[in-house]
């Protein structure tokens, strides 16, 4: 056996040091959406790596930490330490899309606040269901403003700080105006007068019963 071929071979296939392999396993497990099998780890790491060995040391490293490496079937994943599950409440959120009626009502309140329900209806051209207002109030995106000093003293609605925070606005006055909306290309989805009117009519019918309910 000569000396020269061996070092070459070694360089060619030399696996990264174990510490480096540990880092790789750590990063792959972290970034993966699914638990990762040993086979996948081997496939994704440089030739000559031994993820099984790296896993042993890595797993030990996370013992007693806030997250642990756990086995899921024949795969591996990071999981929050069982005793810290109570911290995860805030993470449990379900997101739902706001209805068209709600987003339009919200937009009108944001642009015209303080605004009464009758004014919202006049601008939207359809009745606003009580459920929509209630929903926006519950979400704490709108709140009651001053009563309008007109007959009937109707309540007005304004947007809240929570609304500003959600939409990343410093104040409602920072909302872009119509010309700016158009310049930003937001005004090109122009509904045909015929088609939208029919839909509004229908919506108005539904909304109407709401109106007389309260």
């Amino acid at each position: 056996m000569t000396d020269s071929p061996e070092p070459i071979e070694k360089t060619l296939f030399e696996a990264p040091p174990l510490g480096e392999q540990e880092r790789m396993v750590e990063a792959i497990l972290f970034a993966s959406a699914e638990p990762v099998t040993l086979a996948t780890l081997t496939e994704r790491m440089p030739h000559g790596c031994d993820p099984a060995e790296a896993l042993v040391t890595l797993r030990r490293r996370y013992e007693g930490r806030g997250v642990n490496i756990v086995r899921v079937g024949d795969a591996w994943a990071f999981r929050t330490a069982a005793d810290l599950g109570h911290l995860m409440h805030k993470e449990a959120v379900e997101t739902r899309k706001l209805s068209r009626a709600a987003i339009e009502t919200l937009a009108i309140i944001a642009y015209h606040q303080p605004v009464t329900r009758a004014e919202i209806e006049e601008i939207r051209g359809v009745a606003v269901s009580r459920g929509t207002i209630d929903q926006l109030l519950e979400m704490e995106w709108i709140r009651l403003g001053r009563r309008r000093m007109t007959p009937g003293r109707p309540v007005t609605f304004v947007v809240t700080q929570g609304f500003l925070d959600h939409f990343g606005l410093e104040s409602a006055r920072d909302l872009p105006g119509i010309k700016e909306l158009r310049a930003a290309g937001l005004l090109d989805s122009r509904p045909l007068p015929g088609s939208s009117a029919a839909q509004d009519e229908e919506e108005a019918q539904t909304g109407q019963s709401e109106l007389f309910e309260d």
Partner: protein, 265 residues
């Protein structure tokens, strides 16, 4: 090329090949320039000096030559290229001639310095943009947790709506208003104040129980929209009158006709 008219061929042939290639390169690219400033920045590179030491006079001449060549080759230039050409021609003459005494406004040197500043700033922003895009990027070089945890029995509903949604919604409403100009168009709206005035006058006729619907004004019961508005307004008006103790209201059951009667004094 075969369809190109004969005289264009001749025109182009008058140029020496090297110059012609250069001219064609510029012309092929003219669509690629993002406006006159971009073109000026490209031209300035031929001076091979720091942008801070650039000769604006020379640059103006280069630009004007470019525009002339484009014209000779019948390339249509966008208006802003021509505006810039006019401005540079003006600047050039100002730079060459001594300032007239008593002339106000910025000096030619100030204008030239500003142009150089604009070019330098644009160049700096391009370099900054390139440096920014060369950074390690999330989702490409750097990764977030692949399986964010959402474990808890307590689900909280968050409503999703982006600023874009909000602006689109508003744009949609306001666009609709363009067909029916935005104004409180009152011809289908009967206000509560109007109804209150009417009802005050009609109260005398409500000696015995009478259906509220009978009090609706003429012409307001034909279309649903008008009927709704008038009904609502009159209903609100009688509530107001009831509050003042002037009428009594009764309704047999939900959605039954509403009857009113003048309260006995």
């Amino acid at each position: 090329m075969a369809e190109t008219p004969q005289d264009d061929w001749l025109d182009a042939d008058r140029l020496p090949p090297a110059e012609r290639l250069q001219a064609e390169a510029l012309i092929v690219d003219v669509e690629g320039y993002e406006g006159p400033l971009d073109l000026l920045l490209t031209l300035s590179r031929t001076q091979k000096v720091d942008l801070r030491r650039i000769s604006v006079l020379q640059l103006a001449e280069q630009y004007l030559r470019f525009v002339e060549e484009a014209r000779a080759l019948r390339i249509e230039l966008a208006a802003d290229y021509l505006v810039m050409a006019a401005w540079l021609a003006f600047l050039k003459s100002r730079l060459l001639l001594p300032p007239e005494p008593g002339e106000d406004g910025p000096s030619a040197e100030e204008m030239a310095a500003h142009l150089a500043f604009q070019l330098e700033r644009l160049q700096a922003m391009r370099e900054a943009a390139a440096q920014l895009m060369a950074r390690d990027q999330l989702g490409r070089d750097i990764f977030a947790r692949g399986a964010p945890e959402r474990l808890s029995a307590r689900t909280k509903v968050t409503w999703e709506a982006t600023l874009i949604d909000l602006m689109r919604a508003y744009a949609r409403i306001r666009t609709r208003d363009e067909f029916r100009p935005y104004a409180f168009d009152r011809h289908d709206v009967f206000t509560m104040e109007q109804a209150l005035d009417r009802m005050r006058g009609l109260l005398g006729y409500a000696g015995d129980w009478a259906d509220l619907m009978q009090f609706l004004p003429e012409g307001w019961d034909a279309s649903p929209a008008r009927r709704r508005s008038a009904t609502a307004a009159h209903f609100a008006a009688i509530l107001e009158l009831a509050k003042r103790g002037q009428v009594t209201i009764r309704q047999g059951e939900t959605f039954a006709p509403i009857h009113i009667r003048k309260t006995d004094a």
